[in-house]
């Protein structure tokens, strides 16, 4: 092997790290663009049910969320253990829903208002009673586009 070594101790050229910032910036921009900041803190426990026929929610800006579930342990003293409605950051009552819809409408252009979708994020253990009440409240203020938020699973069986 010694005959390949020419000129004694030759140092390996230092690896240029000049492109490292570029690579990091690229990654940074990627993550910046795909990041969606968590819109609210959950104050209720939500374990979404599964479904196979799901569609993606288009246009995040046109979606308003309504959370339903049993309050988390730290809020149970105040709100009890029965499933409650959470609008924005607050655990609310059913009567607050029309106001919430109105405030969501005010936050959008007139042209976009009919396209507003209300996504119901409901815990699997909730009962339909509260959901039915929410739906009635939404109907009263003509907020008719809703989406039952679910997780996706694969369709079973041979269709």
């Amino acid at each position: 092997m010694a005959k390949f070594r020419k000129g004694g101790s030759r140092q390996m050229a230092a690896l240029s790290t000049a492109s490292l910032p570029d690579i990091v910036f690229m990654l940074l921009f990627f993550f910046m663009s795909v990041t969606t900041m968590k819109e609210t803190d959950y104050k209720v426990k939500i374990k979404l049910p599964n479904a196979t026929e799901v569609k993606k929610l288009e246009k995040k800006s046109l979606v308003s969320y309504i959370y339903v579930g049993a309050p988390l342990a730290s809020y149970q003293g105040k709100y009890g253990t029965e499933p409650r409605v959470q609008l924005n950051d607050k655990i609310s009552n059913l009567v607050d829903i029309p106001d919430y819809v109105e405030s969501e409408r005010q936050a959008h252009d007139e042209a976009e208002r009919p396209l507003l979708t209300y996504s119901l994020k409901v815990d699997s253990d909730a009962k339909m009673g509260i959901i039915t009440d929410i739906k009635q409240e939404l109907r009263k203020v003509s907020a008719l586009k809703i989406n039952y938020s679910t997780l996706k699973t694969e369709r079973k069986g041979n269709y």
């Binding site: 990041t35 196979t52 569609k55 003509s142």
Partner: protein, 209 residues
Amino acid sequence: MAKKVGDLNASSQADIAFLLLIFFLVTTSMNVDQGLYRQLPPPQDKEQENHDKVNERNIFIVLINKDNQLAIEGELADINGLTERTIEFITNPKDKADLAEKVPASKKLEDAQKENKAEDAKNWQKLIDQFGDIGITKGVVSLQNDRGTNYETYIAVQNAIVAAYNITRDKFSQEQFGKVFDELSADEQKLVKLVIPLNISEAEPRSVK
């Protein structure tokens, strides 16, 4: 003469970028929101029900009671068979008298013309040109639940019914265009939706025994 500015040391740029990168990595949640879309019926002013317009045979009643048991057309049933039963109901391949009725597309076209709905008439005409004078199902799936029904069961039933419609649309698209529904163009999808309209009615709330 201006004093020459020394080279700016940019070696910390990478560190800053890394810091930001890590911040966004941590805060990123990749999960996309998805779910089942549903259109609620508009608020009812009058108490009157407009059920009399729909023939008994054209309603497919699915009941869920407070113990999460399922009844299809009045009989206790299992959720596993629901998709199949719904497909049979809306397609009615053997033209059974107790399953959904079909109206020829030409009749729909006539109705639309009578009511001066130019847009609808145009769509029906397009449909007849494309598929011929085929039968359009009049079937409506009526889903009724109790206040005590579990949300999970309710979603499972909703899902099974939507699956029935999706499968029927896929099958029809496959026969007509050789592609599944999702791969069709927007215009073609519109036509298939006209042939197999998604009719799920959620009754006014009431208690189910």
